[in-house]
Amino acid sequence: MSGLQDLYREIILDHYRAPRNRGELPVPPAHLVEGFNPLCGDEVVLYLEVEDGVVTDVKTAGQGCSISQASTSMMSAAVKGKPVDDARALIRAFKALMSIHESKLEGAEETDLSADLEGVRLGDLEALQGVVKFPVRIKCATLAWNVLQQGLDETAAESEA
């Protein structure tokens, strides 16, 4: 099961079995964002609290496959307490990680991707890299990050308004 072991690294299964930051936050002040993966019915619900440019608290709910839920858990742990700018850099880096496979297939330049990855510590998140070998599951892994991006965009728009 070598391919499988790449996909389901122990750390991923650990986040799946014991997801971090599960729960809810009062809305408002927290911001609620949801995302769905129509292919598998994965659902990610994110409660996001942003104050003075910092992600002060994150809680997650929803259900789905181990990849989507582990990615959600890892994402919540990675951005909690971080400045919004760092969280955005992480989103870019994570998406770059997930698109390396595709861009290799298309023969695209890799430089712009490594620019996104540069200077960003992915840590545990790198365990999700095995997903790129299973292209249909990439959407499972990126769902939480798309939801986070939407949440950050919406809170930014609100604070401007």
Binding site: M1, G3, L4, L7, Y8, L13, R17, L39, C40, G41, D42, E43, Q63, G64, C65, S66, I67, F134, R137, C140
Partner: protein, 416 residues
């Protein structure tokens, strides 16, 4: 009609007819358990399509040269074969479409738009595939028709207690003959009789039933029957709508273009005769021929034999799953194989459907995970996704055993 006595299927011989079954996946024998999604193709179908391209390919209904006539004859012969296969006596009643989805849309866009108006009632069931749901939602948005739903029981059969109320004033009953998720076999003839008594027309989604059991559209007493070639051992890209000739005669064209006309002037057009009135543009010629070869292949086996095979194998698999996993595995649908086709949807308590199908793929076992294009049904089941195994003529007990073993590995892999 189908007088051939039911014999047991020589599956080993059948398997030899399907070239793809010789390949391996991840070093394992390919165990294909996704025929409800799309079936594999026998050599006879591949050869028939190859032959038409190599020897007689030309556009149909156009040229008078020899190969154009051969292509047209092969195309129309396929229509006759498909008609006979479902008990239709008049091959003009078969309209070739791209697939079942297009066949149902043809009815929704042509017949329904000509015959239904605001407040008219369409009755569907909670078992339906999106192909038999969304066209009616679109019609509702456009026309304000009302959609009523036949509910289901705890074991995912139709709950017919309130049927007469649902059918009261209905113009159309659009119903699947077999669920693609739970395998539930629907008593189409019984429902059609009650729909008719209420004055409704009857559309049957035959996508799963036509490949798996003897079907006679007149015994069903339906008005419209939709099905796809690709689930019937034939190629993708072609399907059929069967409809009563008098309905087709009265229906307005669906798409306009070449082939579907008798005459065109700067002022207007005269539609062609049925069924060509509904076949605008160059059709899928080799695919039609392939579909004809596929029904020949199934007819040679005998659909009673196919049904007996599906039923025996499904019962075997249901028993094996229950023996091995007990309550840890929820299996949806009617308890025994008498009332279900060769489709089994299931879910482990603690493991997501997609994770299960990923792990069993490692063992060469192909099963589908997801909502199976039946989200209203998934809502009734209260789950976002199930894993589904489905059987074709080429599957045997060894395949069911391989599924059970692979599922045991998945269970161990995700053990908490």
């Amino acid at each position: 009609m189908m007088s051939a006595t039911t014999s047991t299927l020589d599956v080993a011989r059948i398997q030899a007819d399907f070239p793809i079954l010789a390949r391996t996946v991840n070093g394992k024998r390919l165990v294909y358990l996704d025929s409800a999604s799309s079936a594999q193709k026998p050599e006879a179908v591949l050869a028939a399509m190859d032959r038409i391209y190599r020897e007689s390919y030309a556009n149909v209904h156009r040229g008078v040269y020899t190969i154009a006539e051969e292509a047209t004859a092969a195309f129309e012969a396929a229509r006759t074969k498909v008609a006979r296969f479902i008990g239709a006596t008049d091959s003009r009643e078969i309209v070739f479409t791209r697939n079942a989805t297009e066949a149902i849309n043809l009815v929704a866009y042509s017949w329904a738009r000509a015959n239904l108006r605001e407040g008219d009632v369409i009755v569907l069931s909670h078992l339906e595939h999106h192909a038999n749901v969304v066209p009616w939602h679109i019609l509702r948005q456009e026309r304000g028709v009302e959609i009523r739903w036949i509910p289901i029981t705890a074991d995912q059969r139709l709950d017919l207690d309130g049927l007469d109320d649902l059918l009261d004033g209905a113009k159309l009953l659009a119903i699947t003959a077999m669920s693609n998720v739970t395998g539930t076999i629907v008593d189409v003839a019984g429902l059609a009789a009650r729909a008719r008594a209420a004055g409704a027309h009857v559309l049957v989604d035959g996508c799963q039933a036509v490949p798996q059991m003897p079907v006679d559209v007149h015994a069903w007493d339906a008005d419209f029957v939709a099905f796809s070639s690709h689930k019937l051992l034939g190629p993708a890209g072609i399907g059929a709508l069967w409809a009563r000739a008098e309905l087709l005669e009265a229906m307005p064209p669906f798409m306009g273009g070449g082939e579907m006309i008798r005459d065109v002037t700067t002022e207007g057009f005269l539609p062609n005769d049925i069924p060509w009135k509904f076949e605008a543009g160059t059709p899928a010629i080799a695919e039609a021929v392939g579909m004809g070869a596929a029904v020949d292949y199934l007819q040679a086996i005998g659909m009673d034999t196919v049904r007996a095979h599906e039923r025996a194998l499904t019962q075997y698999a249901l028993d094996a799953l229950a023996d091995r996993f007990g309550d840890r595995l929820t299996v949806y649908g009617p308890a025994g194989a008498d009332d279900r086709g060769g489709v089994i949807s299931f879910l482990f308590d603690e493991i997501h459907a997609h994770d299960v199908s990923q792990v069993v793929d490692e063992e060469g076992v192909c099963v589908r995970a997801g909502h199976h294009c039946a989200k209203p049904l998934m809502r009734q089941l209260g789950v976002p996704a199930t894993t589904r195994a489905s059987f074709g003529v080429y599957n045997d007990r060894a395949d069911a055993d391989a599924l059970v073993e692979a599922l045991a590995k998945a269970e161990a892999f995700f053990a908490i």
